[in-house]
Symmetry: C2
Subunit: 616 residues, 2 copies
């Protein structure tokens, strides 16, 4: 036994014997304990941080890179680096991925009367007699309160006789008014969970509710495993167009991730996935198509039509989601090929469809969505901003995670903040906007977006900053963090190409806002409220956004962040079937403006590529 060591995982006291020299990440995997890892266990992402209470070895270089020295001293290690050399006691992290990546979540349950579309009802049916020979189905139907269901699926007929007789004709019925979805022996009415799901291109967020009380029980997020087949929608659709096996594969990837998400959610509160009876799903149109196994190929080429825009409800088995088999999944309606139910959710979560004011709501992302209007009229468009706001296709870009520069200030010199503190390893979208706003303020970048050479600088740029301009790939670049101040000893640059990427991105959104105002027949001043949805909207500095021209200066005082609007919309639809109906009304009422065919689009876009010429 000299070759074997004992590893105890806490909480839970799961104990296993492993061969000495095993990597802890694999030990955990064999023990069915999932650890978050973005990099596949290569020591690159630093996410598999665990606490080795007894038996920690010497930290590796990767661990020294990712973990602070005080953490290292306390026994924190990366599971992918730690080797089992002696008996160990390991404290696992909270299993949840933070939902933060999707933006703050205000529980939308408050103010909504719980009236979920799928209901459970406990019935004590009278037993049949020779005087009461009603069939099993008729007996059930006559005893249900409220409107009588028209339809029993064959699966329910098949299980009905046994279920009814298992507990002396005491039975819990799961139904949605018109259809009986399932029957369970005895009284199970109090166990009735539902999950609101936001299917993002990058992240899947889930919110677990008690459908009886409408109370939020848990929230979690996981990465969408589809990312392996392309970071953005267009590359995934391209996959599907080229290879007929890609659609089922991409579908299986997102369903696999969602099932993992559901597992995390129910484990947090001590339930099982079969206790979940209902799911509502919001997301962009493409993600919804793939989730349902419908080809999104027609979305990618003019005239960009969807196969389905209306809300769709399906059985869990039809899509492979591991809920209770009697459950039902409600996929919220879309507005257009690139204005999905996440936009519908945004409208519902801001209440702009019921407001007498004129509101502008923007979800800034690779596929930005812009909605303008109020209860009289709503217009929407999609703005293909590209991934710059999410830190992709930026030289040192990264997601808003630990080590990302997320704030940049200019006050004679550049200062920045890093998520989680410590030394910076890259820059995320909000940091990029701040940085370029600062470069504009300092005069290092002109209104056409050119990074000036030290000799071209105006006076206010000052000699101090001039020293941070270097030549890089045949153009100028700004050294935001010097090589000596980064852990990899690689400077963090804002390159000319980074500035160009941001110009295209912000121009796409700004053009969308302009076009909608023109179509609506109003000016910027007529907008009463501005809602920013999604994670990015939460983190972005408003003044910087105005400075780079993402929004006109008139709007800066009117901005509210609404958190994960898609999740909020899905949660509202989960709690109340009236919100499902509302989603359908909203999706049907919103006028879609196709930017690609808008007459002045390219002229407007070109104008918005430039930065505002002076600090306002």
């Amino acid at each position: 036994m000299g070759d074997f060591k004992k590893v105890i995982f806490e909480p839970g006291k799961k104990t296993i014997k492993v061969r000495r020299g095993s990597r802890l990440v694999e030990v955990a995997r064999d023990a069915d304990l999932k650890l978050e890892t973005d990099c596949g266990g290569l020591g690159k992402c630093g996410k598999c941080k665990i606490l080795i209470a007894d038996g920690a070895g010497k930290p590796t270089a990767a661990e020294r890179f990712h973990l602070s020295s005080s953490d290292l001293e306390r026994g924190y290690r990366l599971a992918c680096c730690a080797i089992v050399e002696r008996d160990m006691r390991v404290i696992l992290p909270e299993r949840s991925v933070t939902v933060g990546g999707k933006g703050r979540f205000k529980d939308p349950g408050s103010g909504l009367v719980p009236e979920p579309a799928l209901r459970k009802e406990y019935l004590r049916l009278p037993s049949p007699t020779l005087e009461d020979q009603d069939s099993d189905s008729a007996r059930l139907r006559r005893c249900l309160r409220g409107p009588k269901p028209e339809i029993f699926p064959l699966s329910v007929y098949r299980e009905l006789p046994e279920v009814l007789r298992e507990d002396n004709f005491h039975v819990t019925v799961i139904g949605d008014g018109r259809v009986i979805r399932g029957v369970e022996p005895g009284n199970t009415a109090s166990t009735n969970l539902g999950v609101a799901i936001d299917i993002g291109t990058t992240t899947l967020a889930g919110y677990l509710y008690d459908l009886g009380s409408g109370k939020l029980l848990a929230e979690a997020a996981v990465l969408n495993a589809q990312a392996a087949r392309g970071a953005d929608l267009i590359s995934r659709i391209d996959c599907i167009r080229r290879d007929e096996k890609a659609l089922p594969e991409l579908r299986a990837l997102v369903i696999g991730s969602l099932n993992e998400l559901l597992g995390i959610l129910v484990e947090k509160v001590g339930f099982r996935q079969e206790n979940i009876y209902m799911a509502t799903v919001a997301g962009n149109t493409c993600m919804q198509h793939i989730f349902l196994g419908i080809s999104p190929a027609s979305l990618a080429a003019s005239p960009y039509v969807a196969v389905v825009k209306e809300g769709v409800s399906v059985d869990p088995g039809e899509v492979g989601l591991l809920l209770n088999k009697a459950g039902r999944i409600f996929v919220l309606p879309n507005i257009a090929g690139f204005v999905g139910s996440d936009a519908v959710s945004m409208i519902m979560s801001t209440g702009m469809d019921r407001s007498g004011k004129i509101s502008l709501a923007v979800d800034i992302g690779t596929n930005g969505e812009v909605v303008l209007g109020g209860k009289e009229k709503l217009l929407a468009c999609s703005a293909a901003a590209g991934p710059a706001f999410e830190g992709a296709q930026i030289s040192r870009g990264m997601r808003a995670a630990a080590g990302a520069i997320d704030r940049v200030f200019f006050d004679k010199q550049m200062e920045f903040g890093v998520i989680g503190g410590g030394e910076p390893i890259g820059i995320c979208g909000s940091g990029l906007i701040d940085a370029i706003a600062a470069l504009l303020d300092s005069g290092l970048v002109n209104h056409r977006g050119k990074i000036l050479s030290p000799g071209e600088l105006p006076e206010r740029g000052g000699p101090q900053l001039a020293g941070q301009i270097i030549e890089h790939e045949g153009a100028n670049a700004f050294v935001l963090a010097k090589s000596s101040s980064t852990p990899g000893h690689d400077p963090i640059l804002i390159t000319q190409r980074d500035v160009r990427e941001l110009q295209l991105a912000k121009a796409a959104i700004a053009t969308g806002v302009s076009v909608l105002c023109k179509e609506y027949g109003i000016g910027i001043d007529d907008i009463d409220d501005v809602f920013l949805a999604g994670a990015f909207g939460n983190y972005m500095n408003r003044d910087s956004a105005v400075r780079i021209g993402l929004f006109p200066p008139e709007l800066v005082g009117k901005i509210t962040h609404v958190g994960n609007a898609a999740g909020i919309g899905a949660a509202r639809a989960l709690i109340s079937r009236r919100e499902i109906e509302r989603a359908e009304q909203v999706a049907g009422a919103v006028g879609h403006v196709e930017l690609a065919s808008y007459p002045d689009f390219y002229k407007l876009f070109a104008r918005h590529v430039n930065f505002p010429s002076a600090h306002v």
Copy 2:
């Protein structure tokens, strides 16, 4: 090649080489040519009769038994007996099993406007443009005539984009008003078959229609392979109660037989099974439960409740029936556990639900069904007659097939007719009723049902018949056909036990009629019409039925045969969705009388066990 011989099958000229000495029935099976055989190829049933135009060998004993000498001379043989000794040319019989076993079929299409529940519609949709970005589903929905469907199943969404684009947005839609069931590229509207199915305990009958014109194209019948697990319903339900694997097995057996039936039907008219889009199904409650995969166990024990009585519609894939996958199966509603949709069909095919007269309708069978009333009120009961009328549990009983005595006359001596002519091999239900009526007339059986000994006979029995009474198993028996006149040299007897079986059977039906009249508050004289449904009703001699007391003499002149009422009802529902609605109304309106709990049942039954005491 000396060991191989060539066999040509006509029509079709299918030619195969086989090893010399092969049995022709196996050669045909290997060539995918199905030959009807009830006995499994044992030379017992004589059904696999074929014509060997060239190369016939010497007939075997079994062939000499089943075939006339003129047939044998012309080259007719039994495929199960014929051995391939030389090259052969074989003329196959018409493939159809006759529907005769289910009774005559009057095409119910006449007078019905074709309005099937499932319709096909060819649409030429406009292609999408940047100005018309409707989704595929919205495009389809807006172009449909009539009420807009609410529901697209996920399977339709999944195939929609490809189907629409295969023929430039020209598409044929299969739908039932509220649900789109399928889409096909191009114009396939003219290929639209439907099948009406009567699922009997013994025989499955099918009627193939063109749903566009409402025209009957073909009819056929096959045996229900479930018979291998019990001849009657109760024995099959017992199987299911004892063994949890029996339900799926019995379901698979009937579905297999039905798929064979559909194959025979479409081959008759040169179509394929996937050209069938709709099926309607009538049958007894138990057969319908098993067809749907629902346990009929609760039918067999008091209080005899069904799981489902309402009409059920399912997808072909849910039950395994090989129609077009976009098709739909409508299972007609039942009235009670032993009053099935065959009884509903009987009411519809006689029109008694719309008649101002008072009608009595009876389907005589193992599970007899009796319906009484008119448009104001309808009452029904089931009468457990047992299998005597179908020739089962009778000493020499057999189905109404070739070789069965089906008619018996008494005119000083007994004479009988044999189905197909020739020597008798058994007796079927109609022959048994005739025989016992004749024995009553001749005085050989008294009104209590006792076969008298030769010394007890009244004068009119005469010494001639007295010689036909023998002792058999401790009681008297009547020799209907002497051993010298039967092919097996076994006399055909009517035993005391046979008489008792018939007494119980006829008493069950007669008691049902009496109880319904009492419940309805009318006398026998108030009945205006009597409808006899099913094969047995067609063949039975009315006077004999009255003589044995199956019906009171007042009704003899009012009897009409209605043929296969279950098939007619299913066909009406196939042709017009209004008839499906009518079936639902009828099933809901009929009052069910449970004989088992009727207060005077046993007293009435005991009274009906006796025969009427004198010839009327």
